[in-house]
Structures are given as structure tokens and as C-alpha cells.
């Protein structure tokens, strides 16, 4: 019993530490990418087409002779910003919708949650595709499309938490003290939902990274010559055999980004 407890405790903190190391390394690379890249990520060099990894080009070069490492740095930044903005849109609207419906209940809850279910029923990528085909491609439209697609899942989590907390005695006594509803929702209850919300934000962020990569892979996200991990992966698949390093390094970055946040979320949950 004692040993099992110790073991699991150790395992979780290991997850946390590994997640922290990976995530901070990735964040460092992303921030680095904003200010410095070894080469201009859009500059082509015909002599270095599909060059293998070497000391001068750490991850080699792509089909236009652009430095993959520089493009990965820039691409990660783009992916990160899009994923971050997506999660912010999803979380903020999710909190508002979930909190109000969960707290008040009644017909408002029924109506809003059924609409929520309808949105939830569509795969988020499909929903985003529809949105993109209506409003056109581009970074900002992708953010908006993915953000909207992410709202229902957050709304549902927040709603569940609010239903749990609205019957707590301390919420009752706040109501009794004559505290206005909005203050109860955002000041009294919301801080209590943060533990659950935080780990779902992390998971949501991972999904957003993957969704952005998916969108860009399909060519509707970040537009060339700008780089994003998804669009690079899509280019790389044409050279899977002649220059496997292109796909491997780009894919590795996506994996590390997602893995880092997953481990972090898992570690934080405990």
C-alpha cells in the first residue's frame, strides 16, 4: 500500500518535470523564433535544395533550399499563436455560456445546451472547414473558426462544474447574504472550477495545436510563404523518401509541443 502510493506519487512528479522541461524548451524556441532565426525562413537557396542536416543547416533544407530549422522556429510560433488564440476564444465564451446556463438552469439552460449539442455533434475540423469556405482562408479566419468549434466542449465542462457548485452551502449563504448573481458566478464559484478548467485548457490547447496543423496541412490555414508546422508537414510529404528529415523534424516538433503540454496537464492535475 505504502509502496504503491510512493510509486505513483513519484511517477506523477516525473511527468510534471518532463512536461515542464519539454514545454519550457519549446516555449524558449518559439520566443527565440520571434527574434532570431539562423537564416531568413523565406529565403531560397537553389544550391541547398533538399540538403541533408549538417552543422550549417541543423535540420537540412526544403525543396526550395530554405533552412528547415529557421522555418520550424517561425512555424512553431505561428502554430502556437493560433492555438493560443483559439483556446482563449473557446475558454472565454465557454466560461460565460457554461457559467450562466449551469448556474441559472431552467429553460435557458435547455435551449443553449441543445444548440451547444448541435455544434458539438459536428467534428471541429469539419465545422472549421465550413466556416473557412464561407469566409475565406487565412490566419484570423482559422483562429475564429477553430475558436467557435472549441466553445461547446469548454461550455459543457464549465456548466457541469457550476451545477455541482451552485448547490453548495457557501453558494447558498452567498445568495442569502444578498450577493448579486453575477458576483456569485464570477467571484464566488469560478475560482473553484479552476482546477478542472486548467487541465482542460491544457488538453484544449493540444487539440488546437493539432487542429491548426490539420487545417494548414489541408492548405486552409497559414498561407505560403509563411510557415506553420502543418503546412510544412504537407509540403514534406512529397519528399518523404528523398528528404525524410523534412517530415521527421517537423512532425517531431508537433509531437513534442503536444507531449509537453499533455505531461504538464497530467502532472498539474495531481
Amino acid at each position: 500500500m505504502q509502496i504503491g502510493k510512493k510509486y505513483s506519487k513519484k511517477k506523477h512528479s516525473a511527468n510534471l518535470i518532463i512536461g515542464l522541461v519539454i514545454t519550457s524548451t519549446m516555449l524558449f524556441l518559439i520566443i527565440l523564433g520571434f527574434f532570431y532565426t539562423p537564416y531568413d525562413p523565406t529565403k531560397m537557396d537553389s544550391s541547398a535544395k533538399l540538403a541533408a542536416p549538417s552543422l550549417s543547416h541543423l535540420m537540412g533544407c526544403d525543396n526550395f533550399g530554405r533552412d528547415i530549422f529557421s522555418r520550424v522556429l517561425k512555424g512553431m510560433g505561428n502554430t502556437f499563436i493560433i492555438a493560443f488564440a483559439t483556446v482563449v476564444i473557446g475558454v472565454v465564451s465557454g466560461i460565460i455560456i457554461g457559467a450562466v446556463t449551469g448556474y441559472f438552469g431552467g429553460w435557458l439552460d435547455e435551449v443553449v445546451m441543445r444548440i451547444n449539442d448541435v455544434v458539438f455533434a459536428f467534428p471541429s475540423i469539419l465545422l472549421a472547414l465550413v466556416f473557412i469556405s464561407l469566409f475565406g482562408t487565412g490566419k484570423y479566419n482559422v483562429v475564429l473558426a477553430l475558436g467557435i468549434a472549441f466553445v461547446p466542449s469548454f461550455a459543457r465542462i464549465v456548466r457541469g462544474e457550476f451545477i455541482k457548485y451552485r448547490e453548495m452551502d457557501y453558494v447558498k449563504s452567498a445568495r442569502l447574504a444578498g450577493v448579486p448573481h453575477m458576483r456569485i458566478i464570477f467571484v464566488h464559484i469560478l475560482p473553484n472550477t479552476m482546477t478542472v478548467l486548467l487541465s482542460s485548457i491544457m488538453i484544449g490547447f493540444n487539440n488546437a495545436v493539432l487542429a491548426e496543423a490539420g487545417m494548414s496541412y489541408l492548405g486552409i490555414g497559414v498561407q505560403p510563404p509563411d510557415a506553420s508546422l502543418g503546412s510544412m508537414l504537407s509540403e514534406a510529404q512529397g519528399y518523404l523518401f528523398s528528404a525524410p528529415n523534412y517530415a521527421v523534424f517537423t512532425g517531431l516538433m508537433i509531437i513534442l509541443l503536444v507531449l509537453g503540454f499533455s505531461l504538464l496537464a497530467d502532472g498539474l492535475k495531481n
Binding site: 438552469g105 457557501y170 449563504s173 452567498a174 444578498g178 464566488h188 475560482p191
Partner: protein, 264 residues
Amino acid sequence: MLEVKNLNIEFHDHDAPEHIVRNINMTLKYGEILGIVGESGSGKSMTAMAIAGLLRRHDVTTSGEIIFDKKELLSAKRSELRKIQGNDIGVIFQEPMTSLNPTKRIGWQVEESLKIHKPEIGKAERYRLVIESLKNVELDNPELIYKKYPHELSGGMRQRVMIAAAMICAPKLLIADEPTTALDVTIQLQIVKLLQRLNREQKTSILFISHDLSLVKSICGRILVMHDGEKVEEGAADEIFNNPGQEYTRELINAIPKLEKPKL
């Protein structure tokens, strides 16, 4: 000050309407402690919640009248009700473990109803009032407790904090919904004594709800016995104890464990 006339409470979210409280009448005078006793599910808490205005209107239907300080509460507007809640009526709940918000400091929670009802009071004055209120419920080191989180306090201390929070606006009526059930016996006695002192010193009327007859007898002047949502009996505490008029009351009294020599 408080008069309840023909109070009926009914759940309507099931297929068949379910009566929880039927035709309850009661009065509470200034400075009086009235006890409501009954077993679990007898409707005593629901009656209290109705008086406090805590029933969700789309879950239950209520009829009758609750007159508090010449104002009718059951049909009152929310804004009207909000002025009374916390200011004139304070409530203490059964579970001291869940009645404080785990993410907020004690001081913040105690001063919350002051912030709502008396926004004109400044920060320094508010702090002074909170400290005074914590001192008043016999908590040592109120300055230290002000900064603590609920999980750092024991059950008895939390219940005292709850009383401090309920009393900070000096309400005319304090509803205590089984305030001692979750506490051990020695703490129970301290809390009861504290409530009695507050009643004596601040002239707060108390509606004391409990299933513990012996406890109710020691604190209340008058007792109302409830069973299955209906009033069984009402009268002075001694009278009910010495001369129970109803079979149910007699059974309740007989259910009080007595100190006997253990049979070996």
C-alpha cells in the same frame, strides 16, 4: 416579528406533485428562540429555506404567507428580498465543511455581506468590524484567522466563522439549520452557548432547527414539532417535554439516549 401563515411547499418537477410542507403556522417574537424539531425529511429545513427566501422558484411552488417585519416575503420582488437577506436575516448551515468557500480567505467571506449591504463603510472600518465579529464568536487570534483559508480551520472554528459571517450585519433573525449536527458534543455545547449569548446580548431572534430534542430543550423557549411536513405540536419547551400531547412527540422524547449504567 416573523409570522408564517398556512405555508405550503410543493415540488413540481415530478409527475405527481409532492407536498413537502403542509399548512405550517408559526410566530416568532423579538428576542425569542424558537426550535423546530423533527426527523429527517419532516420538512423543517425546507420551512427554514422558505423563510430565508432560498427556494428556487422554478423547482417548487409555495403558497401561504411569510411576514417578516410587516413585509410579505413569499411574493416579494427579488430586489426587495435581497435587501433583507443577509442584512436582516442571517443563516447558518449544517455542514461547516461546505459552508465556506475553499478558495477565499476567511476575512473576505465574513465581510462579503457588509460589502453588499453597507457599501458606504470604508475598508479600515470594515476590517475592524470583521475582527470584532470574529472576536465576538470567541475565536482567538482574529487577526490571524482573518488571513486563513477554511481548510486551515477545524469544524468548530468554521462554524464560529459562519456565525460571525451571519451576524456581521446584526440581523434581526438568525436561522440556524442544524448548526451543531456535524460537530462533536463538546463543541456542540460551546456553539449552543454562543448562540444563547448572542441572543441575549444582541436581541437576535433565533430559529433553531434540529433533530436533537435534548439540545433544543436546552436552548429554546418554545418548540415546534414537525412530522411529514405537518405541525404535530407547538408549545413551551418544558411543557412539551413534561407533558407531550402527541404520540409522535412522546416517541421522539423516548428516543433521546439516556445515561445508564452499562449492562454487563
